[in-house]
Subunit: 680 residues, 2 copies
């Protein structure tokens, strides 16, 4: 094909994206046409000339990743997936935004083949992409060998003004620059418009200068509708593998709409039949809605090239496997998310009678002791902390800090299994989501529990995407003491438990902490939050049966030979208070059972027979947790008592605070006595 | 005093800060000495040479504001407040971090005289300061007249690496630059150390370049221990009133500690007796712990100058009052946070029979209709949205956009009562906190309800500080439809309700929306979240008594002449479903009462007699809310039924989703019938 014809084809390919987006939004009577129309040339160039993928196998491990961070432009992505040959037929595009369609309002991973992450909440797609690029870099540093670049792909992002205004863009781009994630390439759809109108009134950043300040390569002043310029910019971006690249593309939102282009009305509503008809005239597009002209379909079809790319990689990988069979097997195991078979026995071995986990230690310390073993056993564990390593105790002897200059491999790339994310809680959480999405890693990261507020929507996104990400949330109550109410969590245990698919474990001692880690690693359909104490906690003796029962989320920790007159239910640091109260009650002739309930969600997934065996119907219940009590009322029932804290904390030593707020064995015993007496 | 003596005095003044901080942390056996030691010269220069304040009256309305954004350095602030003459005696410094002391672990507003905001969660103090500077600029634009600069103060911030790594610093500094908040002056304690160690491994930004990209004046390469350089930098900062200023001060963390200075061990732990003794030797400090040498005490005492400054201002204000009595009265009313007396009748007038609020409209629209009146009546309302004005419907005819170029007064300053915050939910919320802290405004701001996750910790901080900030959270359920699960809130109503001091209103129609706004304005001891629908909701007829009862948080909306056999409790968009179910039940001969419970927290603050009159004991209960059901179990009790959604939503039209998830009148009626039958 000669140059003019090729250019004409490129234009038609871009316009095919425009019309699929516009027609689908029109049919759905809802959606966002402006962004797909403005990014059509960017998409055409990236997807037809650079992106290495195989539509027949969206799970090819070394594919380039593509993230649409401005996820409201979902129809652009669906059009790309359809046109390049993914299992996304036109009928699905016609069902855009309808129930059970593969084309939901915003892209959702594991719903639509080829979608790499769920986007919509602005800035997080970009953060996920930083995680993917980090995963690629670390896997490459671990597994590639001379002449065997088996991990070798780019991560591309489309993003808009909204992503760049969000604070998380600062957190993750600053870190990406520091870590030199050179295979991360971001294309900024700089259309100057956000929902409130012309962004100049609220977003006047010199964005290129900002990103240069992060150590990025910035290629600015690209005409986002000039395919040649975009093509060259992407080539330049790929060539610099030492720095991430931002390509700033000046675009016109809704480009192609004769009267609406360039205005914010085109952002989030259908164009209307008249505008679309005029657009067809203007662009010389004669095809009907959802009709892709054969020449365009052929030009877009990426299946042959995709098969070829993956086949080449398969050949390379076969050579690698032949030379490094163990590495190859381990890489594949990791990419498939399979745990080593030895995990169970490794963790159980930690619980021997003489284990340091059986000492009086903080559960954050117990977590670190557990990690000392786990990090050695599981190369897929990618640890980290939002600048609180020494407080969260997330780092262990086997931790190799990605951040440290000495941990750079001979290719000049950072290597390691531990990331100091800096003071960037939300960024950390969303990067961890991206790491999990990439595959090859189980990310865990620490911060103070209260600052789960900062990362909350990323925890929710992991829950929505059902990805295995582990949050190590230490300083889990007023027990942190003198730092006072700002870091003291009150409502957080309860509110984290209310996120669907999220699991919250609040272990009461070293043994429960190790079991909680095991449960977290095995929970592969959502995130886990481990709530850990700053202060030392009294260890409990347990039978083998009891240790097994921990996994059921709640179990009888200390019982009375008699039929219990009252059941005391507690979590974490309050279990020892409940146990002391039970002893006092016993001495006073009241039979009290102690139930430890480290994971309420898992306990309520158990069958009724088990639950009733732990919490016998008719026996009055008292709960104690140093947080909001409303959450516990369904557990204790109308006749029960929920002890906790329904106000913010104070600044004082932990013991003084527990006394001040009445969270003492004496108070628990007195309340339980009242309950037992009323009942009898 | 000659120059060498003055310099010597300055040094002793700075060292007094160091020793008070070090000795207090040592006595408390906990705290953060490193930051106060590193910032001692910055503090000495700012507080002794620039800050305009009156220790005898921390409430003087035109005082300069000072925010310690790196709040863990609290002892620096306590030392400053003590030394300059605030009501914070030495005995309180000796009780640092102890129960009931005025010197909690992190600074808390309304606990310690002179503390302007509660800090600790990094980045938010800076954001509060942006809010204070914005408030000053807007008040000045509204109230100052030629020759009468009655609102005229600076806002100063100390901040550290941690604040600058946090995403919120990007959001608020980008906006501050765009809005030209020229009287905001930030001093960056650039000590190169964060908790994980040398920041170079995770924070390599060119921070001066970053802030220049935001349009700030940046004064960099200041030696943070050179008082003369700091003094000149602050003078230069004050001189540029068109741009906010960042002064980058290179400092040594723990400066003055002979062996520990410059390392991260000095960040968050006592220095120890030996190090402190050596420090006394090195710095030639002979005073005992908590002893302030008389010459130093005298040099620090700011009471005389403070009285003089306020007296001068009082004189100026008296002239202003004489010339502009109405403006002066209104400004003082606003600064005192008093609502106009007409508010009640204004809102009630909105509820006339022919009111548009009585039509079938979305509650977000009802909110806008209410605001049409409120914004006209209350000049203190400062509205805004995180780039969703047209969706949140937070803007009204009387809204004057601060962002728009035409709304600049003749002094070149932005004026107005509405802020397009850009896509910056967390920044918006924390700026609103700062606006409320400054006084003179009741800020309200909108975003999609799910993105309260982004701003969550700022909502919590308003709750902790008990400040009146109103969050307009629209698109409050799966009822938003096709945009799908990422923006559809599921757990948010429940989890927002669990934040102490936060009030959550989810009105069911226009009338309840207006009353919710009234309640929000009157709730002056914490934030309010208004949860509003995207979709139109059926209006209900109410008696005058019922309208009054709305304020009690829950009330009988539709009753049966017979004794109810079942009570249906609902909020927001689910009330009309409950009402339809009650009608169906009634037609089937089952007497069902409908309770609307727009604010669960307020309902449970009512006395038991009222609560029992609404929810008669013994009558079975069913709740319906399109969110997690666990929250409602205490309301319906063990025998009741809580209908809702315990999983994430889907992308589809709203009606299809309600049917898909079984949130229909038919389903409610069937479940209620089961309940009523079991009971009878």
């Amino acid at each position: 094909m000669n140059a003019p014809d090729r250019m004409k084809q490129d234009v038609r390919c871009a316009n095919a994206l425009r019309f699929l987006a516009v027609d689908a939004v029109e049919k759905a009577k809802s959606g966002h046409p402006g962004a797909p129309m403005g990014m059509a040339e960017m998409a055409e160039v990236l997807w037809r000339r650079h992106l290495r993928h195989n539509p027949a196998n969206p799970g090819w491990v070394d594919r380039d990743r593509f993230v649409l961070s401005n996820g409201h432009g979902s129809m652009l992505l669906y059009a790309l997936l359809h046109l390049t040959g993914y299992a996304l037929p036109l009928a699905q595009l016609q069902q855009f935004r309808q129930l059970h369609a593969l084309t939901p309002g915003h892209p959702e991973v594991d719903v639509t083949p080829g979608v790499e992450t769920t986007t919509g909440p602005l800035g997080q797609g970009l953060a996920n992409a930083v995680g993917m690029a980090l995963a690629e870099q670390l896997l490459a540093a671990s597994y590639n060998r001379d002449g065997h670049a088996v991990v070798d792909h780019y991560t591309y992002v489309f993003l808009g003004d909204g992503c760049l205004m969000e604070g998380i863009s600062h957190e993750v781009c600053s870190l990406a620059g520091t870590l030199g994630l050179g295979k991360l390439i971001c294309l900024y759809d700089d259309n100057g418009i956000s929902i409130d109108g012309d962004v100049a009134g609220w977003f006047a950043d010199d964005t290129p200068a900002r990103f240069r300040a992060y150590g990025w390569q910035v290629i600015d002043n690209i005409d986002g509708h000039d395919a040649t310029a975009i093509d060259q910019a992407i080539a330049d971006a790929k060539a610099d593998t030492a720095r991430p690249t931002l390509i700033c593309c000046k675009t016109v939102i809704g480009k192609g709409a004769p009267t609406k282009a360039g205005g914010h009305d085109v952002h989030g509503a259908p164009l209307g039949a008249d505008e679309i008809a005029a657009m067809r005239d203007t662009l010389g597009w004669t095809a009907a809605p959802f009709e892709v002209p054969p020449d365009v379909a052929g030009a877009w079809d990426a299946r042959t090239r995709g098969r070829q790319l993956e086949t080449e990689w398969n050949t390379r990988f076969a050579h690698y496997r032949a030379t490094y069979p163990d590495l190859a097997a381990d890489l594949m195991r990791r990419m498939q998310g399979e745990l080593p078979e030895s995990l169970e026995s490794d963790v159980m071995a930690l619980l021997a009678d003489n284990s340091p986990l059986r000492q009086k230690i903080a559960t954050r310390k117990a977590s670190q002791l557990t990690l000392e073993t786990l990090v050695g056993e599981l190369p897929e564990l990618l640890g980290g902390s939002a600048d609180l390593s020494g407080s969260n105790l997330t780092n262990v002897k086997a931790s190799v800090w990605v951040n440290h200059a000495e941990n750079v491999n001979k290719a000049g790339k950072k290597a390691g299994n531990y990331v100091s994310y800096g003071v960037r809680e939300f960024g950390m959480a969303a990067i961890m989501n991206g790491v999990a999405l990439h595959g090859g890693f189980i990310p865990y990261g620490g911060t103070f529990m209260t600052f789960s507020d900062y990362s909350r929507n990323a925890i929710r996104m992991a829950a929505l995407m059902r990805k295995r990400v582990i949050h190590v949330l230490t300083h889990d109550s007023i027990g942190l003491g003198e730092d006072g109410p700002t870091p003291q969590p009150i409502e957080h245990a309860a509110t984290l438990r209310l996120i669907p698919n999220n699991r919250v474990w609040r272990p009461c001692d070293g043994v429960e902490t190790a079991v909680a880690w095991l449960a977290a690693l095995r929970h592969d359909s959502g995130p886990t939050c481990l709530l850990l104490s700053r202060q030392g906690l009294t260890p409990f003796a347990r039978s083998a049966q009891q240790i097994v029962a921990i996994r059921r989320g709640g179990y009888v920790l200390a019982d009375t030979p008699a039929i219990p007159e009252v059941v005391l239910i507690a979590t974490g640091s309050e279990v020892e208070i409940a146990a002391a109260a039970a002893r006092a009650l016993g001495e006073g002739g009241v039979a009290a059972r102690v139930v430890s309930m480290p994971c309420v969600e898992v306990f309520y997934e158990q069958d009724a027979a088990y639950r009733d065996s732990v919490l016998p119907p008719g026996v009055p219940r008292l709960s104690i947790e140093a947080g909001v009590t409303w959450f516990w009322r369904p557990v204790v029932g109308e006749s029960g008592v929920a002890l906790g804290l329904d106000r913010f904390g104070e600044s004082a030593p932990a013991d003084a605070l527990y006394r001040h707020f009445g969270l003492t064995a004496e108070h628990v015993a007195a309340a339980a006595l009242g309950l037992a007496r009323v009942q009898s």
